[in-house]
Amino acid sequence: MTTVIKRNKWEIWRDVIFALFVREIRTGFNDKVGISWSVIQPVAFIFLLSFLRGRMDGGDTHTIPTFTFMAIGLLFIQSFLQTFGSAAQAISKNKALYAFRQVQPISAVLASALFELLVKAFVILGIIVIMYFMGMDLQISDPLLFLSCFFLLWFLAVSLGLIFGIAELFLKEIKKVRDLLTRPLFFISGVFFSLQDFPREYWHFLDWNPILHAIELTRFSVHSSYGDAGVSLSYLATVCLVSFFLSLIIYFTYWKEAISR
């Protein structure tokens, strides 16, 4: 006989998120290369772009190696965009599964966000391995700051993804707006430049952007000589916290209505 265990809410959550997570890994990629492509592709992209850029100039940008400078920028903007995108899509993608009462939209968002986190951890590992074999120095002056920036940015992406995911169930067109909004982020978040390249009086055009703060702070965390002029961890953390609570408010108010339409 197949018996159903009585579970409390947390155990149900854990089981559902785990099941969705496995499903994500299983179904995300269906060709022969499979899931490894999700790591190989960004590693190759980041490596090529950073390497070429490093060859083109003297090899140093604001006292840090250009390769490191570029790799951090690309890695962070990619993590943000992909986590944001998949978190936002997770809600409508798994719509069929809400027929099971145990599956709630937020579990789907969390499962896909965790999946992205796992992938990005492997991407970082891949880049470190490449840097090691190319004989670049692998010093890091403030690992804790590095991790804080990485997780805060992930957290921000998930929160914003949750908001957009719910909104897109009400109005499909918001997906188009999301595509439109995310496109320029690649160019204004300091991936290819540093805030220090700009005169101080124009900083306010750029420094509202929390992704820029995360990227600049991470460069600072790797080489402290880079400096952290104009960016602050507390700004990044505040934006994350505000959007996190905002997303939870929106989610708890609207999720039942959103999936019942």
């Binding site: 027929a99 145990q102 999936i259």
Partner: protein
């Protein structure tokens, strides 16, 4: 007992909100096998989805102390790219099955998919997918099974088997079923709920319920 408390449910449309239920309060007894009767568009499927927890009412709440199934044989949760076995595991995990291995075996035996059980669902013929879905839900011991025109699953042989399994199950568990086939309702149910103009009426005697429904 499934308690509906002041349920209001509407769907937004171009012509304003289309109300299915307005302030509906009702107790559905869970120790009966109940057939839900109602004409097209009366809200049978909506009621069903609300009971199953697949959708939520705009206001009011549904409370119950029994373990309800999801709509039996619903294939939407089955993923095309995963094998039958993986889908089974997924459903089992979500529903909190204690022994996943034996659950898998049970589904495999019931669905009669043979080797195909270990192949992706997209390679299945059109009748095989509902068979898998049916097996997934019947292999779990729920207190109440929600059945939406289930006996249209698969070929004649499987249909007989499905009916047989449901009849056996209905000795310990109860069934809430939607169907337009009165013969089917007579076979499974002993009482009826007639759904008309957003109101529910419970008839302890099935024949009386059917008579009321046909007089509408």
């Amino acid at each position: 007992m499934i308690k509906l408390d002041n349920i209001t449910k509407y769907y937004p449309s171009q012509l304003g909100n289309q109300y299915v239920f307005k302030g509906l309060s009702f107790d559905i007894p869970s120790d009966h096998n109940i057939g839900i009767l109602g004409s097209n568009g009366a809200g049978k499927s909506t009621l069903f989805r609300l009971l199953a927890g697949s959708e939520y009412a705009n206001s009011g709440r549904i409370t119950t102390d029994v373990n309800l199934s999801w709509p039996v044989a619903l294939t939407t949760g089955i993923h095309q790219q995963m094998t039958g076995q993986e889908n089974t595991r997924f459903i089992g995990k979500i529903n909190g099955i204690a022994d996943l291995e034996s659950y898998e075996e049970r589904v495999k035996a019931f669905a009669e998919l043979g080797q195909k059980y270990y192949l992706p669902v997209r390679t299945y013929s059109s009748g095989m997918k509902p068979r898998l879905a049916f097996a997934c839900s019947i292999a779990i011991d729920f207190d109440v099974y929600l059945i939406d025109e289930v006996t249209s699953v698969g070929d004649a042989k499987f249909r007989r088997k499905a009916k047989q399994a449901l009849l056996e199950r209905s000795e310990q568990a109860s069934i809430i079923m939607v169907s337009h086939e009165m013969d089917e309702i007579r076979q499974f149910c002993d009482s009826a709920i007639v759904l008309h103009n957003g109101e529910l009426t419970f008839y302890n005697d099935l024949e009386q319920g059917i008579a009321e429904y046909q007089a509408l």
